[in-house]
C-alpha cells in the first residue's frame, strides 16, 4: 500500500477538499506539476487551471484560480481564490464567458491595450478551465 498524501484545498469561502489522495496534478507557475507522497517541502504559485487528484482509480477534477500551494510533511495545501467542482460549473455560462473573452481579446489586440488584454486573457483562462473540468465530469 502506497503512502498517501493529505490534500487540502482552501479558499476564502472555506475548505473545498480535505482528503487523503495518491497523486495531485496542478497548474503551477512553470507548467503542470505532479505531487506524490513524500515530496520534499515545496512552495509554488498556482495559475488558473485544472487541478486533478486521484485516490486509487477514482479521479476528480477541480477548476482553480490563482493562488499558491505548499507541500510539507505529506501535507499538500492549496490556497486559491476560488475552486469549483465539475458539478457546480454552469457550462452555458462558461461558454458565454469564453465567447465574450474572445471578443474582448480581439478588440484589445486591435487597440493594443495591455490592461484590457491581461484581463481578457485571465477571463479566457478561467472560462477554458471551467469548460475542461465540466467536460471531464460529464462521462461519469
Amino acid at each position: 500500500m502506497a503512502e498517501k498524501l493529505k490534500l487540502e484545498v482552501v479558499t476564502p469561502k472555506g475548505a473545498i477538499v480535505s482528503k487523503e489522495v495518491d497523486i495531485v496534478t496542478a497548474p503551477g507557475y512553470g507548467g503542470e506539476f505532479g505531487i506524490l507522497a513524500n515530496h520534499a517541502p515545496f512552495l509554488s504559485t498556482i495559475k488558473i487551471g485544472v487541478l486533478t487528484y486521484k485516490t486509487g482509480s477514482q479521479e476528480e477534477t477541480l477548476m482553480v484560480s490563482g493562488g499558491f500551494c505548499e507541500v510539507s510533511n505529506n501535507k499538500l495545501t492549496f490556497l486559491v481564490e476560488s475552486a469549483e467542482r465539475g458539478t457546480d460549473i454552469d457550462v452555458a455560462r462558461a461558454m458565454r464567458a469564453k465567447e465574450r473573452a474572445e471578443k474582448r481579446l480581439a478588440e484589445a489586440q486591435a487597440q493594443k491595450e495591455n490592461f484590457d488584454r491581461t484581463r481578457a486573457e485571465a477571463a479566457m483562462q478561467r472560462a477554458l478551465s471551467r469548460l475542461k473540468v465540466a467536460e471531464r465530469h460529464k462521462p461519469s
Binding site: T11, P41, L43, T45
Partner: protein
C-alpha cells in the same frame, strides 16, 4: 394630566416601535449567523496564509520589496472600515472616535492625514473634513473577495506612488456577540516581524523548494496579503455590525416594554380618575334632588 385618548395613541405608537425593533433584532441575529459563518470559513485560509508568509519571509531580505519599504513618514493614510447602516448602538461611533483621535495625534506630529472610507457611516462623517481620498460605499451588505481586492489595490497604488508613506486600518473587531471593540492596525509598509511572529509557531518545516524564486513568489503574495487583511477587516466589521445591532435592538425592545408599562399605569389612573369624577357627579346630582 394627559387625556385618555392621548395616552392610548401613545401606547399604540410605542407598541409599533417595539414591533419594528423586535423584527430588526431578529433580522440582525439571522444576518449575524451568516457573517460569523463567513468569518469562520475565512479563518482557515487566513491562518494557512500567514503560516506560509512566515515561512517565506524568514528566507529573504525584506528591504527588496516596495510594499515593505520603510520611508520617512510624512503622509499617513487611514483606512476606516465602518458599516453602511446605522441603528447599531455606539459601534460606528466608537470606530469614528478612535479614528479622530488617531488623526489628531498624527497631525500633532506634523503628519498629513488622508482617509479611505469603507462604509457609508465613515464616508458621511468625514466628508466635510476634506481629507477623504477615496470612498467605498454600499458594499458592506454583500461584499466578496474582489471588493477587498479593489480597495487593496487602490491603497497599494497610492502607497507605491508616494501618496502615502504609511497606511493604517481602523475597524471594529469582533470579540464576541456581546463585545465589539474598535481596533487599529498597521497595514503598510508590511512588517516582516508581524509575519515572523506567525512563523515562530510553524517553524517545523525545513528548507523549501521555491518555484519560481522567493522574490517572485513574494511579488504575488504581498498584494494577496493585503487583500486578505482588507477582507478580514471587512468581515470583522460586518459581523460586529450585526452583533451590535442585535444588542441595540434588544435594548430598544425592552425599553419600549418599560415605556408601555408606565404608560399603561398612567392610562389606568386617568381612566379611574374619570370614573371617580363621574360617580361624584351622579352622587352630587342625587344629593341635590333630595
Amino acid at each position: 394630566m394627559p387625556s385618555l385618548k392621548d395616552v392610548k395613541t401613545k401606547i399604540g405608537g410605542v407598541k409599533k416601535t417595539a414591533q419594528i425593533t423586535k423584527a430588526m433584532n431578529m433580522v440582525a441575529a439571522a444576518k449575524l449567523r451568516g457573517a460569523q459563518q463567513k468569518m469562520e470559513d475565512f479563518r482557515s485560509y487566513a491562518e494557512k496564509f500567514n503560516a506560509a508568509m512566515g515561512n517565506l519571509s524568514s528566507a529573504m531580505d525584506s528591504g527588496a520589496f516596495p510594499l515593505m519599504e520603510k520611508r520617512e513618514v510624512k503622509n499617513v493614510e487611514i483606512l476606516v472600515v465602518t458599516s453602511d447602516r446605522g441603528l447599531c448602538g455606539s459601534f460606528n461611533a466608537n470606530i469614528l472616535k478612535m479614528t479622530e483621535k488617531l488623526m489628531a495625534s498624527l497631525e500633532a506630529q506634523g503628519k498629513k492625514v488622508s482617509l479611505v472610507c469603507v462604509g457609508k457611516k465613515s464616508a458621511n462623517y468625514f466628508r466635510k473634513t476634506g481629507k477623504v481620498r477615496q470612498r467605498h460605499v454600499d458594499l458592506m451588505g454583500t461584499f466578496q473577495m474582489f471588493n477587498a481586492r479593489a480597495i487593496a489595490q487602490d491603497i497599494a497604488g497610492n502607497f507605491l506612488s508616494g501618496g502615502s508613506d504609511e497606511v493604517r486600518i481602523v475597524y471594529g473587531k469582533f470579540k464576541s456577540v456581546a463585545v465589539q471593540r474598535p481596533a487599529e492596525q498597521m497595514f503598510l509598509p508590511i512588517q516582516p516581524n508581524v509575519v515572523e511572529a506567525a512563523e515562530a509557531t510553524s517553524s517545523s518545516a525545513g528548507s523549501y523548494i521555491y518555484e519560481p524564486s522567493t522574490e517572485e513568489i513574494m511579488e504575488v503574495l504581498l498584494p494577496l496579503y493585503m487583500n486578505v487583511m482588507v477582507y478580514h477587516a471587512m468581515l470583522e466589521v460586518s459581523a460586529s455590525e450585526h452583533a451590535a445591532r442585535m444588542t441595540a435592538m434588544d435594548n430598544a425592545t425592552s425599553a419600549c416594554k418599560d415605556i408601555i408599562h408606565s404608560l399603561t399605569l398612567i392610562y389606568n389612573k386617568a381612566r379611574q380618575a374619570g370614573i371617580t369624577a363621574e360617580l361624584m357627579d351622579i352622587v352630587g346630582g342625587a344629593e341635590a334632588l333630595k
